[in-house]
């Protein structure tokens, strides 16, 4: 048992490092992206190994799926014709290379020393979380931390998410790169079946998040993946950001979350101090709003605001 586990751990760790190295050293951008996606998938296995299924879920959705698609979309745009993106040669000069290598080595040594010197067992907040789960709105510890004990972080994280969309749209429209219509029939057939199932899975993940690994983020990502597939297969069109309703939907998660925070504040309980008994319901409402927002956000980040004019073209 322990021998196999040990081998598994060693293999996972070493292959992770190897893959990271290959990814970053890949001679072509496309190769780097492909390997990065593989890296994300391997990461998910490592999270599973480290008893972090929530993160494994998130990594499977993001690292393996979304980031990859976003990177590929960017690559597609970059490689259309010759663009003048500032690409300089790799760092030249042995001295600079040496300094850089020393820096990297230094970071590794620093971290190793620090990590090996940590107190054992390390101090932690786990002892604080677990006894308070009864008073929290969710029985899954990670969800309780995310949406109750440290809900403030999550609220701001959603703000970051919306900010990313606002920021992306402020640059002007970026229609998703024209997909090539190869084998669309087969693909469309798949998407037609997959999409309803993705909606169902998203719901399942949200529901599950209340008491077990899962949650709004993973669910939202699944929705986003479904939406992007819809775009890629040519079945759907990007939404029109000029319409306020779309923007309102994009911001809905943040509205609900801030609404809850300010509502609890105005009711005199202190921000995000859920009234007794309402915790679960409020968290659920927040999670549903977040799922929608996250899903739409990533779609919007993939294929940005479409101008009405471009729509007509």
């Amino acid at each position: 048992m322990s021998g196999v586990t040990l081998a598994l751990d060693l293999l996972l760790g070493l292959s992770l490092v190897w893959l990271a190295w290959r990814t970053l050293a890949s001679p072509t951008l496309f190769g780097a992206i492909v390997l990065f996606i593989a890296f994300g998938l391997l990461m998910a296995l490592v999270w599973a190994r480290l008893d972090a299924p929530d993160i494994a879920l998130a990594e499977a959705a993001v690292g393996a799926g979304l980031t990859g698609v976003l990177l590929l979309a960017a690559l597609a745009d970059l490689q259309q014709g010759d663009n003048l993106l500032p690409v300089r040669e790799p760092l030249r000069g042995w001295l600079l290379q040496l300094i850089l290598a020393l820096c990297a080595l230094g970071l590794f040594t620093l971290l190793t020393l620090a990590l090996l010197g940590l107190p054992s067992p390390p101090p932690s907040l786990a002892g604080q979380v677990l006894p308070r789960l009864d008073g929290a709105g969710a029985s899954h510890p990670v969800t309780a931390v995310l949406l109750d004990f440290r809900a403030w972080d999550t609220l701001l994280e959603i703000a970051v998410l919306l900010l990313a969309v606002v920021a992306a749209w402020s640059l002007g429209s970026h229609p998703h790169p024209n997909p090539r219509i190869v084998g669309s029939e087969v693909l469309q057939g798949l998407v037609r079946v997959l999409l309803p199932f993705a909606v169902l899975s998203a719901g399942y993940l949200v529901w599950r998040g209340g008491f077990a690994p899962g949650g709004a983020f993973q669910a939202g990502t699944v929705l986003a993946a479904a939406g992007i597939l819809l775009l890629l297969s040519g079945l759907g069109r990007p939404f029109n950001g000029r319409h306020w309703l779309w923007r309102a939907l994009l911001a809905s998660g943040l509205f609900i979350f801030t609404g809850v925070a300010l509502g609890t504040l105005l009711l005199g309980g202190g921000a995000l101090d859920y009234p007794a008994g309402l915790g679960y319901g409020l968290i659920l409402a927040i999670e549903l709003g977040l799922t929608l927002t996250i899903g739409l956000t990533f779609i919007a980040l993939y294929a940005g605001e479409q101008d009405a004019a471009e729509e007509r073209e």
Partner: protein, 177 residues
């Protein structure tokens, strides 16, 4: 002749699909109780989402018939197992017995789901891989072009056509006419 109002058709499809989705929900939840309200809501949502994507045909509500499916599944499983064994045999073989070839196979199946089913199926069967669809001809890649691929493909096409009864009739008419 059965007269069906469009909205009636949709309501029926929605109900069936919601039920199906609820069953899937139960599967996803690994049989755990609770969350049925939630499940119902999302099952309904999923069913709703499916309506524009898979517009309910007049009859039957799902493309393949149940009878067709029951006949098709064992065939499919057996064939794909064979496909796996075939590939595994070639992969393990020290001399790599391969003779790749590409053929163009004229399709007689109706466009839409029958063709999609066909393409997906042959991609899992021994030695064949659908590469692209060009009009009514499908480009098929063969691991070993030495047999009679057309015969095997014709067999599969018939099996798939069996799945879709109305379409089969359409095909028969086409052949007869």
């Amino acid at each position: 002749m059965r007269i069906s109002l469009p909205h009636h058709r949709y309501v029926t499809a929605l109900s069936w699909r919601t039920l199906l989705a609820l069953w899937l929900w139960w599967i996803l939840a690994e049989g755990e109780g609770g969350g049925w309200g939630f499940g119902l809501a999302f099952a309904l949502l999923a069913a709703l989402a499916s309506l524009p994507l898979l517009p309910p045909a007049p009859w039957p509500p799902l493309g393949p018939t149940l009878r067709g499916l029951l006949r098709f599944i064992p065939f499919f499983l057996w064939q794909s197992l064979q496909g796996g064994v075939d590939v595994a045999r070639r992969a393990f073989h020290p001399r790599l017995p391969l003779a790749p070839a590409i053929i163009h196979y004229p399709l007689s199946l109706a466009p839409g789901w029958p063709r999609i089913f066909f393409l997906n199926t042959i991609s899992l069967l021994p030695g064949t891989l659908a590469v692209s669809l060009q009009g009514d001809r499908v480009q098929v890649h063969l691991l070993d072009g030495r047999g009679d691929p057309h015969k095997a493909l014709r067999q599969v096409e018939e099996r798939v056509a069996d799945l879709f009864i109305p379409h089969k009739h359409a095909m028969d008419e086409k052949e007869n006419g």
